[in-house]
């Protein structure tokens, strides 16, 4: 040990010796990050596959066109797997390994009491203690011998089993998602005004085989439904068909069992009258039906007028009949009047269900503004103050009676015994406080006490004087005590050392 000597600048020598170690630490670090990058890639691939699958499935269920085709899914998968892995690797490559880290990792690899890192850290301090200086020299010697050792870098563990499982799951999900996207476009309803043919009706364009299968038959009296394009009929939802589709009709048409409302919705879109549009929108969205009574009355009036006009026009057989987009058992195309009847019938049921609310609202608004309804009125709370026990509604924060409060103790368990929840009286004394004063003794003002000679008691002290003997027993007790006294005297006269009476008089 005595040959140890500290270099004039041990830190610079250590830095030189550790340079190669830094490179090796960097390379080992990059290698160690590969499993981590792969794990991340597998994780994000699985997550992306799940997201794509649900996206495709939901678009399928909602009847919208699939967002991704096979190519899109493949690109997304590659991005999902490669991007995080790339980020991890780029960060690993760009990482700078400091001298301290190199020394600490070399110590980890050597496993010999952190001599190198200790020496490096102590050499940075200028006022190293004697023990520190010796430690620096010792660490430098150690580094000279062992600087080519392998540094200790924790290898991230590769979860091959879990990774393969995730990849398999991702591939499966993506294949299913691709199949979903390949099954064709969902139902779209296109409305294209065409010149009047026989029947003079707007031709409805149907695309999507699922909707075609859902519609069982079409009455012969209905207007002709023509195809927009061959591509639509073949089942592939081409983007070219989308502009002809009105967005609002898509959900209704695609929803299974859209029924009457879907038809009404579709027919209403082709109409230009404001009232019918309102009506059909109301049929399609139940929430919007809860409007004010005034608006409803106005709408009814407009509907009636429009209905009359439409029926007249249809009777003239030169008007435009309405198409229908709905599936189900109802005819796809009906005349305007029948549709209106249908719609009104549906609305009526809803109106009846909402009647109390509507009436209340109208009653509120018809008095010139929102006013509290009479039904909500409650009796004003009394202003009687007092302890609880009154039966009544819960207190409104304004005083008055409140229901009985909970009380504790056995008495509260006995029915019919009202127990106030507080005890009358003064407040508790609170925290006790002890004060000490330094006071010199001083005589109290006033006259001193006068000493009086103690006198003997005036009355004899015996049991009979302390206890009241009943009159009936007075004579007996007197005889008993006299006998007891005489017995004591006889005993003392006879030199009886025990001091006890020879014989106790028996109680009579």
């Amino acid at each position: 040990m005595s040959e140890l000597h500290t270099d004039p600048d041990p830190r610079s020598e250590m830095a030189v010796l550790l340079t190669d170690c830094r490179r090796r630490v960097h390379r080992a670090w990059i290698r160690a990050q590969v499993p981590k990058a792969m794990n991340w890639g597998f994780d994000t691939l699985a997550a992306a596959a799940g997201a794509v699958f649900f996206l495709q499935l939901s678009s399928r269920v909602l009847g919208q066109a699939s967002l991704l085709g096979w190519v899109g899914i493949l690109v997304l998968a590659l991005l999902a797997a490669g991007l995080p892995a790339g980020v991890v690797m780029v960060r690993a490559i760009r990482r700078q390994v400091s001298l301290t880290e190199a020394a600490e990792r070399l110590d980890l690899g050597v496993q010999d009491h952190n001599r190198i890192a200790v020496a490096l850290a102590l050499s940075e301090g200028r006022d190293a203690s004697p023990f520190g200086r010796v430690a620096i020299g010792e660490g430098l010697e150690f580094l000279r011998r062992l600087h080519r050792q392998l540094p200790g870098v924790e290898q991230a563990e590769m979860d091959w089993k879990g990774g393969l499982q995730r990849v398999a799951m991702a591939i499966g999900l993506m294949v299913v998602a691709g199949l979903i996207s390949g099954r064709g476009a969902p139902v779209t309803v296109a409305e294209v005004p065409v010149p009047m043919g026989e029947g003079s009706a707007v031709e409805r364009q149907w695309s999507g085989h699922s909707q075609r299968t859902r519609e069982p038959s079409r009455p012969a009296t209905q207007p002709v439904v023509a195809a927009v394009g061959k591509a639509d009929r073949s089942g592939a939802a081409g983007p070219a068909s989308k502009p002809a589709v009105k967005p609002r009709s898509e959900p209704a048409a695609g929803r299974p069992g859209g029924g009457v409302r879907a038809e009404v919705n579709a027919s209403s879109q082709s109409e230009s009258t404001k009232g019918e549009a309102l009506e059909s929108r109301g049929a399609g969205k139940p929430k919007e039906r809860k409007t004010s009574a005034h608006a409803r009355q106005d709408r009814d009036r407009q509907n009636k007028e429009a209905g009359l006009q439409a029926s007249q026009a249809q009777e003239d057989s030169s008007s435009i009949s309405q198409g229908s987009s709905g599936g189900g058992g109802m005819s796809a195309v009906q005349n305007n009047a029948s549709q209106r009847l249908e719609t009104r019938g549906t609305e009526r049921e809803d109106d009846e269900a909402d009647e109390p609310t509507e009436d209340e609202k109208s009653a509120n608004t018809q008095r010139g503004g929102i006013q509290p309804t009479m039904k909500d009125r409650q009796a004003a709370p009394t202003r009687d103050l007092g302890i609880s026990g009154e039966q009544g509604p819960p207190g409104g924060g304004r005083g008055g009676p409140t229901p009985p409060k909970k009380s504790r103790g056995t008495a509260s368990l006995v029915l019919g015994v009202p127990i106030p929840d507080f005890v009358r009286g003064r407040l508790g004394p609170g925290v006790s406080k002890v004060t000490r004063e330094r006071v010199e003794p001083a005589p109290m003002p006033g006259e001193g006490a006068v000493a009086v000679a103690a006198q003997p008691r005036s009355l004899p002290e015996n049991p009979s004087s302390r206890y009241r003997v009943p009159p009936a027993m007075a004579a007996t007790v007197q005889r008993y005590l006299a006998a007891l006294h005489s017995a004591d005297q006889e005993a003392s006269r006879g030199n009886d050392t025990t001091g006890l009476p020879a014989s106790r008089p028996s109680q009579e």
Binding site: M1, S2, E104, N114, S129, F131, R133
Partner: protein
């Protein structure tokens, strides 16, 4: 101002002297106390790092013998206090007594209790009430005792070696956390090996009973303590000790999941102090001049095991504090970055 070479040789000399004193004491103790090499080393390390030690083990394993032997090997003032349920604080600290003056009259004079000594053997410490146990608090931490208005410094070196029995719980009072925290280490005394039984029986049942000679003095112990405090500690090692202590505290960022689940109270900063002091002794015994992370790991169990208080869930799960400390040591990394 000594040159670098001179300073280095002085440090080398101090280090070798430390090891020589340590080995001398260890040999003398082993004349009577057979086996348990690590236990003896730890007790000596506590003595030289200015701490107190709590020995725990079933009856008959030589806890008291170890303490008595060590006291005999040191030329120190020794006191043995047998803790019993009726022991009062005044019985161990001392009390003011009314005494007669030589020239007449009376005066109050402080009569020192057995606590006023260099080497205290607190035998069966958990048999005394917490009131009496707490009388040791000031003595162990501040190295002084206070009675009435009088505060008296205790002599240096001062060490308390306490023993307790883990199985006879009836009629005992578990040490409060504040008291436990003042012990630098808690050492478990286990059963000896088979070959050690032979030596024990030979030494205790035959005519020749080994005797202990004092091989060191109080002044030498104090000097050794000064050497221990000169051992260098780097930020990396200090940070490692701090992270270890913090990892025993539930809710800390370094605590593993099992600590958060079963531990109610972790180690205090005294734990980190103990880790470094004991680590310094180990570094000196290893012929090194700076503490390493390995030194800290080696002393983590005796230093931290009694500073981890289990939660109700931990007690119901029968969690073992030794295993928890091992889990903490396994979860905390050495690297400073």
């Amino acid at each position: 101002m000594p040159t670098g070479q001179t300073s280095d040789s002085a440090v080398q000399e101090q280090s070798s002297r430390f090891r020589e004193v340590f080995d001398r004491l260890k040999r003398e103790v082993h004349k009577v106390f057979v086996g348990h090499d690590e236990l003896v080393e730890n007790v000596l390390a506590v003595l030289l790092s200015d701490g107190h030690v709590l020995l725990e083990g079933v009856p008959g394993l030589g806890k008291t013998l170890l303490a008595r032997t060590l006291a005999s090997a040191l030329r120190l003032q020794f006191s043995r206090i047998q803790f019993t349920p009726d022991l009062m604080p005044a019985d161990i600290i001392g009390t003011m007594m009314l005494t007669e003056k030589e020239g007449g009259g009376h005066e109050l004079r402080f009569a020192e209790g057995p606590l006023v000594a260099n080497f205290i053997l607190a035998d069966e410490i958990n048999r005394a009430t917490p009131k009496t146990q707490s009388a040791l608090l000031e003595a162990m931490q501040e190295r002084q005792v206070s009675v009435a208005r009088r505060t008296m410094k205790l002599p240096e070196p001062f060490i308390v070696v306490a023993t307790q029995n883990p199985i006879e719980q009836e009629g005992t009072y578990p040490l409060p956390e504040a008291q436990l925290d003042r012990f630098l280490v808690k050492l478990m005394v286990g059963y000896p090996q088979e070959r050690e039984y032979h030596q024990i029986l030979q030494r205790t049942t035959e005519v020749q009973i080994p005797t202990i000679e004092p091989v060191s003095t109080g002044e030498e112990v104090v000097a050794m303590r000064q050497i221990v405090r000169q051992v260098a500690v780097t930020d990396q090692v200090r940070g490692y000790a701090i992270r270890l202590v913090m990892a025993t505290q539930p809710g800390s960022p370094h605590a593993p999941a099992v600590i958060n689940r079963v531990v109610a109270l972790g180690s205090s900063p005294r734990g980190a102090q103990g880790l470094l002091l004991m680590g310094k002794v180990r570094a000196l015994l290893g012929g090194r001049f700076a503490v390493s992370c390995q030194d800290i790991r080696d002393v983590a169990l005796p230093v931290l095991r009694h500073r981890v208080l289990l939660s109700f869930e931990g007690q119901s799960d029968r969690a073992n504090t030794d295993e928890l400390v091992q889990a903490v040591v396994g979860s905390v990394g050495e690297l400073s970055s």
